[in-house]
């Protein structure tokens, strides 16, 4: 699939509209009034006023009565405006939040260790979390805008039809001239369509490059400061800024040509009418009253606005299509939980109806559902994990793992070892579904595991990555992530991860704010916090990726001793561990060592059975 398949734009928009059908309906009704009916009335009132002044009116109302009507209309309009905006705010928020929800949900379902990426033709291009922000920020708001403006557009359309009908009665020839610009506009937008989309894509991409790079700068502040490369990095930022400027100006210019074109084409239309009248080919003009004339000019200006809105709407539609394409490109076809293979299905997943737990218009806030563990039902009692022929290769690189087979039993300690780049971390990630396996099968108690990403979670297993991520929150929240556990259970996890003493020494204890990415903790503390986060979930299978890298020898030894001592004391027996390490004392403890080299298993056995290790 090299060409992006066209998106079913209308069904997508319709699906979104149907998310809050009542809001959509009320919103549409109110905005039909605001943009279609209220603007039309003053024109008629003014016509009546002038005709009453010159006493050519069919109705015998005094001019002052018309002024009263004007006030009444205005009051009505303001009331409608307040109601309309109120409903629309709610409607808009629902729309953008639903899109953001589905996007976030989709990204969280992707293999967690695979960097976020977008489809570019047959290839995928990685993006940083900072870049991903631009997908959450502008695109949903643009889509939302297009949807809510549909009601306005219909209002304008109704108004334009009514106005043209009225004007036709006054003077058919002149009125018909008004249609000319409309035809020109539609042709122009159709012509410009490709360009609108192309410019929009380019400018969005340039924006994303800037936000992505900014995100990286602020993530790497320490490195940049330490190396004193701030200036060079800022120069690069300037370069990206310049590219963005170029694309944005182009994008804006095109849109302006079209928009102001709509307005000015109508003026040109009026000009042609005047020319027509001037050359005297229509005699009908002499029959116009001052009131008719006022109405004519008043409506023409509004019809011009309506045309402009129409043109702008067409542009928005094109841009919305680009936004949907962009959001769809974030989707991975190999997303592990569901095999949504068709691109259309991927787009529809973006507009799927999901509860958002927002307060309604009358302020009733539904309670959030209690946080459910991923597998609330009691897990199968773990006996054995087996892996057969597991392979994964990184795109554009020869690295990866190849045909890995091994098994481990309950209560055993399995250590994966090998040189840098031999695939230790990759193996753990593929097993856990954090990277999509390309071949191979995983068996849990003899049953094949279909979706490792959702299967390998507490209470079955938990994982401490090599570089754990903590979030800017309190230590307690970082450990529990809103899991409900007693303080005793938490204390036990802290003790086992040899972290209790450190926490005790912190003046705020578990309420300590750990800072962005946990920077307020030392490297070793972060790793033990992550270990505690894993242990408090009491999984049957513990998976550590290189726990020792940030721990000193003493701390690590007490950690292992603690872990295995508990196992002997409880009924559950020794915990089952799968870890990567190169430390001799860890290797000596292992029931089985798997030696990896260049992605393949080189040897397997106990420490004393593997002469290559000593």
């Amino acid at each position: 699939m090299t060409l992006p398949t066209p998106l079913p734009l209308w069904p997508l928009l319709w699906r979104l509209i149907c998310y809050t059908p009542k809001l959509a309906l009320v919103d549409a009704g109110l905005w039909l009034l605001i943009s279609g009916v209220f603007p039309a009335i003053p024109g008629l009132i003014i016509q009546g006023y002038f005709d009453a002044l010159t006493e050519t009116a069919p109705l015998a109302l005094s001019p002052l009565a018309f002024l009263g009507l004007l006030v009444a209309t205005s009051v009505g309009e303001i009331v409608a405006l307040f109601a309309g905006q109120w409903v629309r705010t709610q409607y808009r928020f629902n729309l953008r939040s639903l899109l953001r929800h589905n996007l976030l949900d989709q990204l969280l379902q992707q293999p967690g260790a695979q960097p976020l990426s977008i489809a570019e033709g047959p290839q995928r291009q990685t993006i940083s979390p900072g870049e991903a922000i631009s997908y959450f920020r502008e695109d949903p708001e643009l889509i939302e805008q297009t949807i809510v403006k549909t009601a306005d557009l219909i209002g304008y359309g109704l108004f334009a039809l009514g106005a043209i009908g009225l004007l036709l009665r006054l003077n058919p020839q002149i009125t018909l001239m008004v249609f000319l610009p409309l035809a020109v506009i539609s042709a122009a937008v159709q012509q410009a369509q490709q360009k609108i989309k192309q410019y929009r894509r380019a400018s969005r991409r340039a924006t994303q490059a800037v936000t992505g790079f900014l995100g990286e700068i602020f993530t790497a502040v320490q490195v940049l400061k330490a190396t004193g490369t701030e200036t060079a990095v800022l120069n690069h930022l300037n370069h990206l800024n310049g590219q963005r400027q170029q694309q944005m100006v182009k994008d804006r210019l095109l849109i302006t040509v079209l928009n102001s074109g709509f307005e000015n084409l109508t003026n040109l239309g009026i000009g042609f009418i005047l020319l027509l009248m001037a050359t005297g080919r229509t005699s009908a003009t002499s029959g116009l009253s001052v009131g008719d004339f006022a109405l004519f000019i008043y409506y023409l200006a509004l019809v011009a606005t309506a045309f402009r809105a129409f043109g702008q709407y067409l542009t928005w539609l094109k841009q919305t299509e680009v936004s949907f394409e962009r959001l769809r490109a974030l989707h991975r076809p190999d997303s592990l939980t569901e095999h949504r293979s068709s691109p259309a299905a991927a787009a529809f997943a973006l507009v799927a109806h999901q509860p958002l737990y927002l307060a309604g218009l009358w302020g009733r806030q539904p309670p959030l559902p209690p946080l459910q563990p991923p597998h609330p039902e009691a897990p199968s009692h773990f006996k054995e994990l087996a892996v057969v022929g597991l392979s994964y290769h990184y795109p554009h690189a020869s690295r990866g793992i190849e045909a890995i087979s091994f098994s481990l039993r309950r209560g055993s300690l399995t250590v994966i070892t090998g040189p840098v780049g031999s695939g230790k971390t990759t193996l753990l990630r593929v097993l856990l579904g954090l990277l999509p396996r390309q071949t191979g099968t995983i068996y849990w108690n003899g049953q094949p595991v279909e979706h490792p990403a959702t299967f390998f979670c507490p209470p079955r297993s938990a994982y401490t990555p090599q570089v754990p991520h903590l979030f800017s929150d309190t230590l307690r929240n970082n450990l529990l992530l809103e899991l409900e556990k007693s303080d005793a259970a938490l204390g036990e996890a802290l003790r086992l991860s040899v972290f209790a003493q450190d926490v005790g020494a912190m003046p705020m204890g578990l309420a300590t704010l750990v800072g962005t990415r946990g920077v307020r903790l030392s490297g070793g503390q972060r790793q033990r916090a992550a270990a505690a986060r894993m242990l408090v979930r009491q999984p049957e299978l513990l998976i550590f990726d290189d726990l020792s890298s940030a721990l000193d020898v003493e701390t690590e030894q007490s950690l292992w001793e603690g872990l295995f001592a508990t196992g002997q004391a409880t009924a559950a027996g020794r915990p089952t561990c799968l870890i990567t390490s190169n430390r001799p004392d860890v290797l000596r403890r292992a029931d089985r060592i798997i030696v990896l080299n260049e992605g393949r298993i080189e040897a397997m056995g106990r420490f004393d059975e593997l002469p290559s290790l000593s």
Binding site: L70, L81, Q85, A113, V223, T227, L237, L274, V467, R533
Partner: protein
């Protein structure tokens, strides 16, 4: 109107405008001319229409109706051209100015000390450097010019009305003054709501980027549900504020509808009255009405500018706040460092991350002195203050007590640029950019040549790794170190340091992720790198410290032992000797 202007000039906004528009004076003048010209056309246009209508309704001999129609058409065409020109100029001015502001903000943030960055997520900062600045674009390009131009148009229309009839002129002038007075007051009431709104959206995007970066941890620990839960909570907080912000907008909008109707009523009543007094003709009644309607456009423009400005104001305040956030570091000096290898002295240094009042000391009364050209190994349990030591040396933080000197020069008197050029550090966290291998190594410094990079990679045994990538130095590395093993990433960080050729090299648990084979390779490279340089190596594997000259043992922020390695190792009662003994009970190598 005057209120609006006072509000505008009394603020730091003018300074912001002046600062970022000065460099593009010509473009701004061009933009002003274009805008004023199109405003003039707007005043002429109705005159043409009126002339046409008067003549068409009461045909006079010799009237040039076709010319009038053609004039109308050409004005429409010229307006189109002017719109394009003003868009081009306006957008360019805006982007130039906002880009300069973005860079300045990014530079300022980079300049701030680490305590600033510890309390803010990268996503939040992106929102403040990019999101807030983007809303300022209109402010830079058009705000002043539009306000000025439309005020001129407004005055022009009022002048014409005064000329038609003084009573019409007077009543509509009063109306305009009253209208603006009320509306600007409304604007001010809406400001805090928008500030709150933008604050919350910055937090939301900060939350997103942080949790998206931690997907691996969340997924494997079954905590995706937790992220969604936080997302819902955030939405629940956001909605009422969104409602309030939009409500403020509605109040403004409906007031302008009410005012417009009031204007029309005034015009039509005055017209009816004067008509009944037979003071004016029906044509003039229409003209008064027409011009009153003409008032709508400049008033709406000024209002929408002010309302955009109101939103921009929230952003301006936040930008200003960020720009004026002071660094917690005391001002730096400008003394150069001696050009040869640097000795390091810690003299009764005390430091706490909680600045006022300092408590919970991370380092306490730390004193030691490392002669130039020697290598120091730092030993201690995690959390003993080893990393804090390096952070102070790089002046990410300033100690609250004591002095640190490099080559006899107190750190606080050294120029920051000079310091960072001469001190290199490799930490265990390696940050990679989504950029080419080259840019990742040079950190976007174009002065470093490919030859130097090749040399550094060769010294670290990374040439084979590079050759396995067909695009060589142009190979794109992914964000989140995707596709690189942690060990490889760390070797790349070594290469970064190698390229910068510092006089003092700090390795902070830098070899922790390497297997023994690779570590040995790095060790050889390290020894080469350390030649003629002073070095500080923080390690938890004592084997890494076999070749160091001095040893510092830290415990809970205090110095337990300090001395030449050999002396401490020979002294069987020393803590270091005991540690050595302990580590020898396990085989020294794989």
């Amino acid at each position: 109107m005057r209120l609006a202007f006072r509000q505008f000039t009394s603020n730091p906004y003018t300074r912001l405008l002046g600062r970022y528009l000065k460099s593009q004076r010509l473009r701004v003048v061009g933009l002003a001319l274009t805008l004023f010209f199109s405003i003039a056309l707007q005043l002429i246009n109705p005159q043409v229409l009126r002339y046409f209508i008067d003549t068409a309704l009461n045909p006079e001999p010799g009237a040039s109706l076709p010319q009038a129609a053609l004039l109308f058409i050409s004005i429409a065409l010229i307006t189109q051209g002017l719109t394009l020109m003003s868009t081009y100029l306006g957008e360019t001015v805006a982007w130039q100015a906002t880009n300069a502001l973005r860079t300045d903000l990014a530079a300022h943030c980079l300049h701030l000390d680490l305590s600033f960055h510890q309390s803010r997520t990268p996503g939040e900062l992106v929102e403040r450097v990019d999101g807030d600045v983007t809303t300022l674009a209109r402010f830079f390009a058009q705000f002043t010019l539009y306000i000025l131009g439309n005020s001129l148009l407004l005055l022009g229309i009022l002048a014409v009305l005064w000329l038609e009839d003084w009573r019409a002129g007077l009543s509509l002038t009063l109306f305009v003054l009253f209208a603006f007075g009320g509306l600007t007051r409304l604007l001010r009431f809406a400001l805090p709501v928008w500030v709150a709104y933008r604050q919350l959206s910055a937090r939301f995007f900060g939350f997103l980027s942080e949790y998206l970066a931690g997907r691996e941890d969340l997924q494997a620990n079954g905590s995706n549900g937790y992220v969604m839960h936080r997302f819902y909570q955030m939405l629940q907080q956001w909605l009422p504020i969104f409602h309030r912000a939009r409500w403020a907008q509605t109040v403004l909008w409906s007031s302008s509808v009410a005012l417009l109707t009031t204007g029309n009523i005034i015009a039509l009543s005055v017209g009816a009255y004067l008509w009944s007094q037979q003071a004016i003709t029906i044509g003039t009644v229409y003209l008064i009405f027409y011009y009153t309607n003409q008032l709508r456009q400049p008033m709406a423009s000024i209002l929408s500018e002010l309302s955009d400005f109101q939103q921009a104001q929230a952003s301006i305040l936040r930008v200003q706040e960020l720009l004026t956030t002071p660094s917690r570091l005391p001002p730096a000096g400008d003394r150069p460092l001696p050009s040869d290898a640097l000795g390091v002295t810690f003299d009764h240094v005390g430091f706490s991350y909680d600045a006022d009042p300092p408590h919970d000391w991370a380092l306490q009364d730390v004193s030691w002195c490392l002669p130039a050209g020697q290598v120091l190994g730092v030993v201690g349990r995690t959390g003993s203050g080893k990393t804090t030591l390096t952070r102070l040396l790089l002046r990410f933080y300033a100690p609250q007590a004591g002095t640190i000197s490099l080559g006899q020069v107190p750190l606080e008197t050294v120029s920051p640029a000079g310091l960072r050029q001469r001190v290199g550090i490799v930490t265990q966290d390696v940050q990679l950019f989504q950029a080419s291998v080259r840019d990742n190594l040079t950190l976007f410094d174009p002065a470093i040549e490919d030859g130097q990079i090749q040399h550094a990679l060769e010294a670290l045994g990374l040439l084979d790794w590079l050759r396995s990538h067909p695009q060589g130095l142009d190979t794109l590395l992914a964000a989140d170190s995707g596709g690189l093993s942690a060990g490889e990433a760390q070797l790349l960080a070594f290469a970064r340091i190698w390229l910068r050729n510092p006089s003092l090299v700090i390795l902070d648990e830098a070899s922790s992720r390497l297997d023994l084979l690779t570590e040995r390779r790095v060790e050889q490279a390290t020894q080469q790198l350390m030649q003629g340089r002073t070095g500080i190596i923080i390690a938890h594997r004592l084997s890494t410290l076999q070749h160091v000259d001095y040893i510092l043992v830290l415990e809970q922020g205090k110095v337990v032992e300090y001395g030449p390695r050999q002396d401490l190792a020979n002294q069987s009662t020393s803590r270091f000797a005991r540690l050595l003994q302990r580590s020898q009970t396990v085989p020294p190598a794989l």
